[in-house]
Structure formats: C-alpha cells, structure tokens
C-alpha cells in the first residue's frame, strides 16, 4: 500500500550529490550507506564544487560512478598518495579518499602511514569489513582471529597468520593525525554519529592542521555468507570487541573556533 502524500512535506530524499546510477553493491552492503552519508554532508555544507574525492580499488572501485562530484581513481592502495598530490595542487579544495581494508590496510599500508605521518590535510574514510569482498571473501589483514574466510577455511590462526591489524590505533599515534575516530553504520544511531564525524572532519580540513581518519566498521553479507540483518548482528557481537567504536584521537580544544 502507498499512502497519499497530499498535504505532507518531504523530510528525507536522495541528495543531488548522488547520481541515479544503480549501485553494483550486494544487497545490504554498508558501502551504499557510507557513500550516501558522505554525499549528504557535502551537499548540506554546500561544498559540492569544492570537493575532490579519490576512489580506491576494491568493491568501491566504481565510487566515481555514484558520487556526483569531482573524483579521481587511484592505483590499488595509492589513493592517499594521489590525494596528497590533488591537495597540494589545490590546497583550497576539500579532498577525501574512500578506501576499503584491502586497499588501505593491506597493499596501501605504506602510503597510508606515510600520508598521515606527513600530516597531509585530507580526510581518509576507511571502510573495514574484515575480508576482501570484491574477490570473493579472502582473508584480509583485518580479518578477526578464528574467522573463517575462503583462504582461511579453518579460521584465522593467529600463530601463523598474525592478529587483526588495528591500523586506526596505529595511525592515532602519529603526530600528523589530527582527528582519528572509529564509527559504524549498523543502526540509525550509528549512521547519525558517522555523519557528525564526517561533518567535523570537513570542518577540521579548513584549519589545515593534519589528517582526519574515519574508520567505518562495516558488514559484508556476501563475504561472511549471512543475510544483511544477520551480518549487522554478527558485526556488533564479533567486530566491536576488536574494533570498538568511538573517538581515538580528537584535537585539543583550541583547534576549533566555536
């Protein structure tokens, strides 16, 4: 059934910063929510013309098809290096990278750490779902201990394969990092918090004081072999003990002129 919309006002609709292209993501994938939240913030802040995004390699490789702003595709793992160049040529623009855990925490670990260490004035959005989703759910550096993937069918053995890489904590220790936080999109409250964190990051970017880094703990229904609803439940029970949401590094009060 559809109620009549007569006499009612629109309180929520798709923002023009998202294109009408159908997203190729699996049903229930967090990428869609994160895309939408970033684009809503850019639309609401009125910085559509001043923002340049850098797309990664991974599931979100086609991010430039969905985000209706200026975008640049980067080589695998090198989104932060490309963003460094973009920001240095256009210091007055807002620059952000959008990367998954295979891109940022595996092949691009070196670029990521050195970009933050240089304190490049960009926002890095890191979507962490603990598997390589695009290639079929293989083990990533961020895969949980004991978690079964197609390349760790008996569960990740910490003795031979190492522990989950908490790159966000690693980055928070670097002096170039201004704002480091971990959020998620499993519930309405979490999505609202993520939106605030992204808003804050673009505000901080105006101050030119260092790198902003937002990790989004995300699901992968296809890679985890669950329904979207089950995967969000599993995320709360299993991902959060290892990747607890919350601010890890916030600037000292004088950084913001309220």
């Amino acid at each position: 059934m559809e109620n009549s919309t007569n006499g009612l006002e629109v309180v929520y609709e798709k923002v023009p910063t998202l294109t009408d292209t159908l997203m190729h993501y699996c049903p229930g994938c967090s990428h869609g929510v994160v895309h939408r939240v970033i684009m809503e913030v850019i639309h609401e802040m009125g910085i559509t013309e001043q923002t340049i995004g850098v797309a990664p390699v991974g599931c979100s490789v086609f991010a430039y098809n969905y985000m209706n702003i200026d975008m640049q595709e980067a080589a695998h793992g090198r989104a932060t290096a490309a963003a460094t160049g973009v920001k240095r040529v256009h210091p007055d623009k807002f620059v952000f990278t959008y990367q998954g855990d295979g891109d940022l925490a595996a092949i691009g670990t070196g670029e990521t750490i050195h970009t933050v260490n240089r304190g490049e004035n960009i926002l890095m959005v890191f979507v962490n779902n603990g598997v390589y989703g695009m290639t079929g759910g293989q083990m990533a550096p961020t895969t949980l201990a004991g978690m079964k993937t197609t390349t760790s069918p008996f569960g990740r053995d910490v003795a031979t394969m190492g522990s989950p890489l908490r790159i966000t904590e690693l980055i928070a220790n670097l002096p170039g990092a201004l704002y480091v936080t971990r959020q998620s999109v499993h519930s309405t409250a979490a999505v609202r918090k993520l939106k605030k964190a992204i808003q804050l990051s673009f505000e901080y970017q105006k101050l030119n004081q260092g790198t902003c880094f937002i990790e989004v703990v995300s699901n992968c229904p296809s890679g985890w072999k669950m329904t979207p609803v089950e995967s969000n439940q599993w995320l709360v029970e299993n991902m959060f003990p290892v990747y607890p949401p919350g601010d890890i590094k916030v600037p000292k009060p004088p950084a913001v002129n309220n």
């Binding site: 059934m1 559809e2 109620n3 009549s4 919309t5 006499g7 009612l8 006002e9 629109v10 309180v11 929520y12 609709e13 798709k14 998202l18 159908l22 997203m23 993501y25 699996c26 049903p27 229930g28 994938c29 967090s30 990428h31 869609g32 929510v33 939408r36 999109v185 519930s187 309405t188 999505v191 609202r192 229904p221 329904t227 979207p228 609803v229 969000n232």
Partner: protein
C-alpha cells in the same frame, strides 16, 4: 500522532530488509512478487508510519523518500 508516509523506488530496491528492522512502527515488509532486477522489494504494509526517517537513514541504495505532515504552530516537536 504525527502522520507520515514513505515512497519506495521499487525498481531499485534490493530487498536487504535493513529498513524493515529499523522501522519502530513495524509498518514495512517485503513484497510477494519480484521487481525487474529479481529482488523482493520493501513496501509499506500499514498506515502507522510517522515519518521518523529511520528506514531511509539505514537504506544502502537511497530508495526511500520520507514524507511527514508539517509541524503545527506552537508544537514542541
């Protein structure tokens, strides 16, 4: 009670059910038939919608537009 409603773009919905779980009024459900892409899509099953936008906030494919009756003057909402 505030009256609202949602309009769902049925042809682009992937039927992930996240909106159904997020709806505090439990007025959303999956359709019995498929859309052109082969998914059962979300639809409004009851007229108890209050326009709280929870469903639209968790929707990965931005298929939901939310409508709500305008605020009355003097209302604290």
């Amino acid at each position: 009670m505030i009256r609202g409603t949602v309009v769902i773009a049925h042809d682009v919905c992937k039927g992930c059910e996240l909106c159904i779980v997020a709806c505090p009024q439990e007025c959303l459900g999956l359709s019995d038939h498929l859309n052109a892409r082969g998914y059962r899509f979300a639809q409004l099953n009851a007229d108890t919608c209050t326009g709280c936008v929870n469903c639209a906030i968790v929707c990965p494919d931005s298929v939901i537009t939310v409508y709500r009756e305008p605020k009355k003057k003097g209302s604290r909402l």
